[in-house]
């Protein structure tokens, strides 16, 4: 099976050569839900920032959807973000005044409207359990709905890979489980590869590739 994420000997050093990540290696198959565990808070943050391109690694290879993002030009990175890889950051900030539907339309306005926009919106709302809540303003709603909306915004442009940074933060175990089930449904129905950067385990882990990090004790965190 082809790989959608290939991290090889990734090292990132902070100020004063502080070790943030060193020789981290793992892969994720296409169409798989994978969760990487065993990292500290700082290491998850650093890994997320490397994947989004916010920070450049000091060494190693980072390949997402067949693109080496370390050497990716700005233009190609933009295209990758628009079409292939979506990121759901921790504590995703939602638009203050937009309803769920308006927020999804806003995302599509930025990434490009597909010809079948209505079907795409309906499918996204259905998959994320928001079909009946499309007219709610999510910032005024409970945390679960906010995470669902964040998920919907992340997948509405039909990416091939979704990277979630601590998606269960602020949720109780039942809420986390329901979000986890939504993620697995999305994976099954859209064949979307999902990489979870999270220590917490939520719900039934069947079908989820749990990757233990290979980092050694010199790593801070």
């Amino acid at each position: 099976m082809s790989k959608i994420v290939q991290i090889a000997e990734l090292s990132v050093y902070g100020e004063d050569d502080e070790v943030l990540l060193e020789d981290l290696s793992f892969t994720v198959d296409r169409g798989e839900v994978a969760q990487i565990t065993g990292l500290s808070e700082t290491q998850y943050e650093t890994l997320f920032d490397v994947l989004t391109g916010d920070i450049s690694p000091d060494a190693g290879q980072v390949v997402l959807a067949d693109r080496n993002i370390v050497r990716l030009s700005r233009k190609k990175r933009k295209k990758m973000l628009r079409e292939e890889v979506s990121f759901l950051p921790r504590n995703f900030v939602l638009p203050a005044k937009k309803t769920v539907l308006e927020a999804l339309k806003f995302k599509l306005d930025l990434t490009g409207k597909p010809p079948e926009i209505q079907e795409r919106l309906e499918e996204t709302l259905r998959l994320t359990g928001l079909a009946e809540k499309r007219d709610l303003v999510p910032v005024d709603e409970p945390e679960t709905l906010r995470v669902q909306t964040g998920l919907a915004i992340s997948i509405v442009n039909n990416p091939n890979l979704l990277v979630c940074h601590k998606p269960f933060t602020g949720l109780n175990s039942n809420e986390a489980e329901s979000i986890f089930e939504i993620l697995k449904d999305i994976n099954e129905q859209k064949d979307l590869s999902i990489l979870l950067l999270a220590e917490e385990v939520a719900g039934d882990q069947a079908g989820v590739e749990v990757i233990e990090s290979n980092l050694d004790s010199r790593v801070i965190g």
């Binding site: 943050e45 997320f48 920032d49 989004t52 916010d54 700005r74 990175r77 933009k78 295209k79 990758m80 973000l81 628009r82 979506s86 990121f87 950051p89 921790r90 504590n91 995703f92 900030v93 939602l94 638009p95 203050a96 005044k97 937009k98 927020a103 806003f106 995302k107 306005d109 930025l110 990434t111 910032v139 915004i153 992340s154 442009n157 940074h165």
Partner: protein, 298 residues
């Protein structure tokens, strides 16, 4: 083109976020630009330009204060006869014929109560009462009026150095306030737009795509401020003979060419002010963009 489309799309988004407080700040910024440009007028415009008779008539003698309107439609011969007839009047020391074309060109700015489609005589007299009586005998003179103030305005005293410094300081304070208000509006907009900003960021768009509409907005505010100041200037020029105190105090701008040049410079100044104000707003984008990273990392 794509960037511009996005910019207009984002400007529409910003418009949807404007509430009373943000409008107040935006209007405040606009008024500060307006105020700044008016101060520049006060500082830099020439003070010794004739208010009512432009440089085109400066070669004529002073004290031609009485304006007599000639009946429209008279032939050249009739006007020549009228000239000779007026010349013979005891109270007339001298007179100058001003054609309606010259009035339209702005060489002579007549008071608003008389028609610009007529020819006029500018008359110098030492006995105005007698002149008025004698003009009653001239059927081809339809209206007589007196030019307010001096026919040729005497040179005003230049502003003192201290006054110039005070005006300059006030100008700097006003410009600073304008920059602050522009930055504050941008800050408020971006604060309400944090969610959208995060979507933009993770959709692969650059900071530039957010900066461009902010620059356009600030520049537009500067431009509108300049337009307001130009309207004031045109208004004062139009009402220069109406006796409005401030119109007489501000420098005269009766010549169309001067107005055109000042208009262009004012628009440029407003645009530059708005643009410079937007530079401080752009830092807000950088800060907010960076803040997104930091908040994700905490």
């Amino acid at each position: 083109m794509r960037t511009m489309n996005k910019s207009f799309y984002f400007i529409k988004e910003f418009a949807g976020l404007m509430d009373r407080k943000k409008w107040a700040k935006a209007i405040g910024a606009l008024l500060t630009v307006f105020g700044f440009i008016v101060l520049v007028y006060v500082l830099l415009l020439p003070k010794d330009q004739p208010l009512q008779v432009s440089t085109g008539l400066e070669k004529f003698p002073d004290n031609h204060k009485t304006l007599a309107q000639v009946r429209p439609g008279l032939s050249t011969t009739d006007i020549d006869s009228l000239y000779l007839s007026l010349r013979r009047l005891e109270s007339v020391d001298n007179l100058i014929l001003v054609l309606s074309e010259e009035v339209k060109q702005g060489i002579l700015n007549v008071p608003p109560e008389v028609s610009k489609d007529s020819d006029f005589f500018l008359i110098k007299t030492s006995d105005r009462d007698q002149l008025l009586e004698e003009l009653k005998t001239q059927p081809n003179i339809t209206m007589v009026t007196r030019l307010s103030g001096m026919t040729q305005r005497s040179s005003k005293e230049p502003l003192s150095l201290w006054l110039k410094i005070v005006i300059l300081v006030i100008g700097v304070i006003i410009a600073g306030t304008g920059f602050y208000l522009l930055r504050s509006v941008s800050q408020d907009l971006l604060r309400n737009w944090r969610g959208e900003l995060q979507i933009i960021k993770y959709s692969g768009l650059s900071k530039l795509s957010v900066k461009v509409p902010l620059v356009l907005l600030s520049t537009a505010i500067g431009l509108f401020g300049a337009v307001l100041s130009i309207l004031l200037l045109f208004g004062l020029s139009t009402w220069a003979n109406s006796g409005i105190w401030i119109a007489e105090k501000l420098p005269g701008l009766l010549n169309n060419t001067s107005l055109l040049i000042i208009t262009i410079w004012s628009l440029l100044l407003g645009t530059v002010l708005g643009f410079l104000g937007s530079l401080s707003s752009l830092r807000v984008v950088d800060e907010t963009w960076k803040l997104e990273n930091n908040q994700n990392n905490t």
